[in-house]
């Protein structure tokens, strides 16, 4: 069973306490964006076989959204971090690259 630590309340929550929210760090489009950009924003999703950054909500807890770094092929969790950021903090990137030396945020599908 998937266990993620909520970065706000520090609770190690198991899956039934959480709600998955899909890909993290989606760039929001707004007035003036063209159709392609809107399609990309609304429908195209990173779906990597490997390291993924995603949104989770501590639904049956503090109720706040946070981000998690996880591997979709091993179900390994690299860490969680607060959602008020455009990219993962250094300690998360270090935790990922310690095990996946080739990984970088800018090459992650969701970053482009």
């Amino acid at each position: 069973m998937l266990i993620l630590e909520c970065p706000y309340c520090g609770v190690k929550a198991e899956e039934t306490e959480l709600h998955g929210g899909g890909q993290a760090h989606i760039k929001r489009e707004t007035v003036g964006s063209d159709d392609d950009a809107f399609e990309h924003y609304l429908f195209t999703r990173a779906n990597p076989r490997g390291v993924h950054l995603e949104r989770w909500r501590h639904a049956n807890g503090c109720g706040k959204w946070f981000h998690a770094a996880r591997d979709t092929t091993t179900l390994e969790v690299f860490g969680t971090y607060p959602a008020q950021t455009f990219e993962p903090p250094k300690d998360i990137i270090d935790a990922i690259t310690a095990k996946r030396p080739d990984w970088s945020f800018k090459n992650w599908q969701g970053a482009t």
Partner: protein
């Protein structure tokens, strides 16, 4: 290829079964094919089969990373139905269902199609209205379904408890010619027929790169060397996102785990397929006597073919109220498959940004029932560049807002 028949069984019995042929060849790949299909699951093999049968294209290779039919084709709950709300869905699923009717004769391979009837339970008033609407839509689409009341439900399926406190049965949408088929046999039957037409099915061969030149696909690099092609067709279900990335484009798809489980075998007690979408469970009884149960998907991306345990618990817990006799059954085994889910829960059968590359994906949690129809339509798309069955299922529907919104119609058990 020697045909299978009662006479063949008698002949082989007389000579100690020494004369059976291999059902398909395992060739080494050629340097070039007219069409390469990535993925030897049901959809990929069906595409190859109808390319040969309907369009005369037999210079085809089907490349498979693992073994034939070893992905979702071998992991589903084998349900066949076509009671969809939207017209494009009803057209392709009904095409598939009607092809299942004659598949065993067509392929000379017993796929054990059993049109035992599929019953989708309405357990809330919203579902009653939803399924009545679907029944009317089906009548207009030429798909034979009917909405039946709770007493008729009890008559068709006596082991059901129709007046449970949480999930009373208020009626159901019944498709009498829906049912099940032997999932492995569908893949094996198509593979045998394809091999007989001279197509190469190359197993244990993973595509590591899609080689491109000026907006066109030139060929693929695989673990068994480079293979060139005139046209490429990607039919890899849960791994669609990964292969599309190799080909340099992105899809509106996320891959999640869907689980199923079977009980110990018991005597025949249920001769239809029952789907209960309110409680996220669906069930049928296999010919071996096992109760085959499917559940809901996980809420996060996953490629491990394992799902979360609580989903099994939720599914079984909910089904027990409607099927009290389940409570004393032991569950025999459980497994997961990786399903490719789109935003509108409808598949993508489409051209791609690459001129000679086609993709068939996004069947999500409901691909098995569509195998022959999907292959039929995809073969037409690959051969002719357009098909009436795939017209609405293009990748461009997301940009243009022409969704085929079946998540409303089909709920979770798709």
């Amino acid at each position: 290829m020697k045909r299978y028949s009662a006479f063949a069984i008698a002949r082989e019995a007389a000579r100690f079964h020494s004369g059976w042929e291999r059902a398909w060849r395992s060739p080494t790949p050629k340097k070039k094919y007219k069409v390469i299909i990535i993925g030897a699951g049901g959809h990929g093999l069906a595409t190859a089969y109808y390319l040969g049968k309907n369009h005369g294209i037999t210079d085809v290779a089907v490349i498979e990373k693992g073994w034939l039919g070893g992905g979702n084709t071998g992991r589903n709950t084998t349900i066949i139905r076509s009671n969809y709300l939207q017209d494009p869905s009803a057209a392709i699923y009904e095409k598939a269902r009607s092809l299942y009717e004659t598949m065993s004769q067509d392929l000379n391979y017993n796929v054990m199609f059993s049109p035992r009837g599929v019953l989708m339970l309405a357990q809330t008033h919203h579902e009653v209205r939803g399924y009545q609407r679907t029944a009317y839509a089906n009548a207009l689409q030429g798909v034979k379904t009917e909405f039946i009341g709770p007493q008729k439900v009890k008559e068709i399926c006596p082991i059901m408890n129709i007046d449970g406190p949480r999930y009373p049965v208020l009626g159901g949408l019944f498709q009498a010619r829906g049912g099940t088929a032997r999932h492995d046999a569908v893949a094996w039957g198509y593979a045998r027929a394809c091999s007989d037409m001279g197509m190469d099915i190359i197993q244990q061969c993973e595509v590591t790169d899609v080689r491109r030149e000026g907006g066109e696909v030139k060929g693929v690099s695989t673990t068994k060397g480079e293979i060139d092609c005139d046209k490429l067709c990607i039919v890899v279900a849960g791994n669609s996102g990964h292969v599309a990335e190799l080909a340099g484009f992105r899809l509106p798809i996320e891959s999640v785990a869907l689980q199923a489980l079977v009980s110990e075998p018991i005597k025949p007690c249920m001769d239809i397929v029952v789907m209960a979408n309110t409680v996220h469970g669906y069930m049928s009884q296999s010919d071996k006597g096992e109760m085959v149960i499917g559940g809901g998907t996980d809420g996060y991306n996953n490629y491990t073919q394992r799902g979360s345990f609580q989903h099994i618990e939720e599914t079984v817990r909910a089904l027990i109220e409607t099927f009290p006799m389940l409570s004393r059954l032991k569950m025999l085994r459980q497994w997961g498959g990786i399903v490719d889910v789109t935003g509108d829960r409808s598949p993508i059968l489409s051209k791609t940004p690459l001129g000679n590359c086609f993709i068939n994906c996004g069947w999500g949690t409901g691909g098995f029932k569509a195998i022959p129809g999907s292959g039929w339509a995809m073969a037409e798309l690959v051969a002719k560049g357009h098909s009436p069955l795939t017209a609405e299922f293009g990748l461009d529907r997301f940009k243009e807002g022409r969704f085929i919104d079946e998540s409303v119609a089909a709920g979770v058990a798709h």
